[in-house]
C-alpha cells in the first residue's frame, strides 16, 4: 500500500497532490503489468479504469476495416491513459495495445467516481488534472490534423 502511494505521488499526473487526497485515492489503485500484445482496453468495452503508465509503451489505436489498426498516439512512462470512465456511457473509444512490457497503476473508476462525488474538492482537483491532459492532447491532435509536413503541392489551392 505504501509503495502504491509512493508510485502515485511520483507520477507526473499526480504532481503536487496533497497527501490527504493521495490517502483517499490510493484505495482505488492497484498495480498492473501487461505483456507485449496485451490490451489495456479495447474499443466498446466498459471503461471502468484509467492507467498511470510507469514503464513501457502503449499505443492508442483505431481499427480501420480492411486497413488494420491506425495508431493515433503512443503513451509511455509518465503518461496517463483513459478518460472515458469520467462520463456515461463509460465506454472505451479506442484500443490501447501494449507494445512492450508495461507496468502501470490502474485506478478503479467506480471507486473514484464515488470518492469524487463525496468530496467535490477532490473531484475538482481530479477534473483539473484531466482537463489539462485533454487540452494538451487536443492541441496535439489539432496539430496532427494540420498535417504540416504534408505534400505542399497537393494541398495548395
Amino acid at each position: 500500500m505504501e509503495d502504491l502511494k509512493k508510485y502515485i505521488a511520483e507520477h507526473p499526473f499526480f504532481e503536487n497532490m496533497i497527501p490527504e487526497y493521495l490517502d483517499t485515492i490510493v484505495g482505488c489503485a492497484s498495480n498492473v503489468r501487461f505483456n507485449a500484445g496485451d490490451f489495456l482496453f479495447r474499443e466498446g468495452q466498459t471503461a471502468n479504469q484509467f492507467f498511470l503508465i510507469r514503464h513501457g509503451k502503449v499505443t492508442l489505436e483505431i481499427y480501420v476495416p480492411s486497413r488494420g489498426p491506425f495508431i493515433i498516439e503512443t503513451a509511455e512512462a509518465g503518461d496517463v491513459l483513459g478518460w472515458s470512465w469520467l462520463f456515461p456511457p463509460y465506454r472505451w473509444h479506442f484500443d490501447a495495445r501494449v507494445q512492450e512490457l508495461t507496468r502501470a497503476i490502474a485506478m478503479d473508476a467506480t471507486c473514484l467516481r464515488e470518492k469524487k462525488e463525496a468530496d467535490p474538492a477532490l473531484g475538482y482537483n481530479l477534473m483539473q488534472r484531466f482537463a489539462r491532459v485533454m487540452e494538451q492532447r487536443l492541441q496535439a491532435t489539432r496539430l496532427q490534423l494540420a498535417d504540416v509536413y504534408g505534400n505542399p503541392v497537393a494541398h495548395s489551392r
Binding site: G68, F70, T74
Partner: protein, 278 residues
C-alpha cells in the same frame, strides 16, 4: 567589399551520387567539376543550385562541414527545379552559388545542453549542426535530437538515425503524426516530446527547423519548459532569387532571409513570427 567577381555566376559541380531517401526526397552528393570548389560552409547555411535551363533554387546544405569539398544537399521534389534535380545522374553537372546565410550557433553553444528539433525535411539543415556537435561531443552537456515526420515512411536518414540512437551520448526521439499497426515507434507531434526530453532548460541551446506551424508550437513547448527565447534558434524560409540581398524577395520584416537568416535567434524575429502573411 568582395572581389570583383559576378556574384550571380554559378560554380560548376558534378553529381557524385543521387540517393533516394523517401518517396519524394533525395540527397545529392556533389564534387567540384574544376579544381576550385566553393568556400567552406557553416551548419545551417544554404546554396543556390542551378539546373541547366530549368532554374535555380535555394537548398540548405545537409552534409558534414568537416568535409566541405563534397557538397551534400537533401531536398524534396516539389517544384519544377527540384523535380528535374531528382532525375540527375552521376557525372552530370549543375551550377552552385554559395554558401549563403547565417548558421546554427554550434560553437557559441559550447558548454550547453543541445536540443535539436526537426520536422519533416527540416532534419536536413540540422544534420550539419549535429555532425559538428558530435565532432566535439565532450564540449557539450546532454545532446537531444527530437524528430517528427508525417508517417514512418517519411523519415529521413534512417540508417544514420539508427546509428545515432545506439550512441550512449546522444538521445534520439523520433515521432510520427500517423502510423499503422506495424510501427513500433512513437506517434504524436514533435512538441509533445519536449516535456519529457532530458535537458536542463536553463542551460540549453535549442535549434529548430521544420514547417512554421511546427516551429511555433515547438517554441511554445520549450518556453513552457522554462527556456528563454534568446536560446532558441529557428530556420526560416521565403522565396529567394539572388541570395545576395539584391532581389528583395526573401524579406521577412526588416530582414533578408538570405543574409540575416535563414537561422534566426527567436527573440529577434518573435515580433514578426505571429504576423500573418508578412
Amino acid at each position: 567589399m568582395l572581389p570583383q567577381v559576378d556574384p550571380m555566376l554559378p560554380t560548376l559541380y558534378q553529381i557524385e551520387k543521387v540517393t533516394k531517401e523517401t518517396e519524394d526526397t533525395f540527397t545529392l552528393a556533389l564534387n567540384p567539376a574544376q579544381t576550385d570548389g566553393l568556400p567552406p560552409f557553416q551548419p545551417g547555411q544554404f546554396n543556390m543550385l542551378y539546373i541547366y535551363g530549368v532554374g535555380e533554387v535555394p537548398i540548405s546544405i545537409s552534409g558534414d562541414p568537416a568535409i566541405p569539398r563534397t557538397l551534400v544537399h537533401t531536398t524534396r521534389a516539389v517544384g519544377t527545379v527540384t523535380r528535374a534535380m531528382k532525375q540527375l545522374k552521376k557525372d552530370q553537372q549543375i551550377g552552385i552559388r554559395g554558401p549563403y546565410g547565417s548558421h546554427w550557433p554550434v560553437t557559441e553553444a559550447i558548454g550547453d545542453d543541445i536540443v535539436l528539433v526537426a520536422g519533416g525535411i527540416g532534419l536536413a539543415p540540422l544534420r550539419p549542426a549535429l555532425y559538428q556537435v558530435l565532432a566535439m561531443r565532450e564540449r557539450f552537456g546532454k545532446v537531444v535530437l527530437l524528430y517528427g515526420t508525417r508517417t514512418p515512411e517519411d523519415i529521413l536518414f534512417k540508417k544514420e538515425l539508427e546509428n545515432w540512437r545506439k550512441r550512449f551520448d546522444l538521445e534520439v526521439y523520433v515521432t510520427v503524426d500517423r502510423a499503422t499497426g506495424n510501427w513500433y515507434g512513437n506517434v504524436g507531434v514533435v512538441p509533445s516530446l519536449i516535456p519529457k526530453a532530458p535537458f536542463d532548460p536553463h542551460q540549453t541551446t535549442a535549434m529548430i527547423c521544420g514547417p512554421e506551424v511546427m516551429m511555433r508550437f515547438t517554441v511554445h513547448a520549450l518556453q513552457n519548459r522554462g527556456m528563454a527565447t534568446q536560446n532558441i534558434y529557428v530556420s526560416m524560409e521565403r522565396n529567394m532569387k539572388c541570395a545576395i540581398g539584391l532581389c528583395g524577395h526573401c524579406q521577412l520584416g526588416p530582414t533578408f532571409i538570405c543574409k540575416d537568416g535563414p537561422v534566426y535567434r527567436f527573440d529577434v524575429i518573435e515580433r514578426l513570427f505571429d504576423k500573418r502573411e508578412l
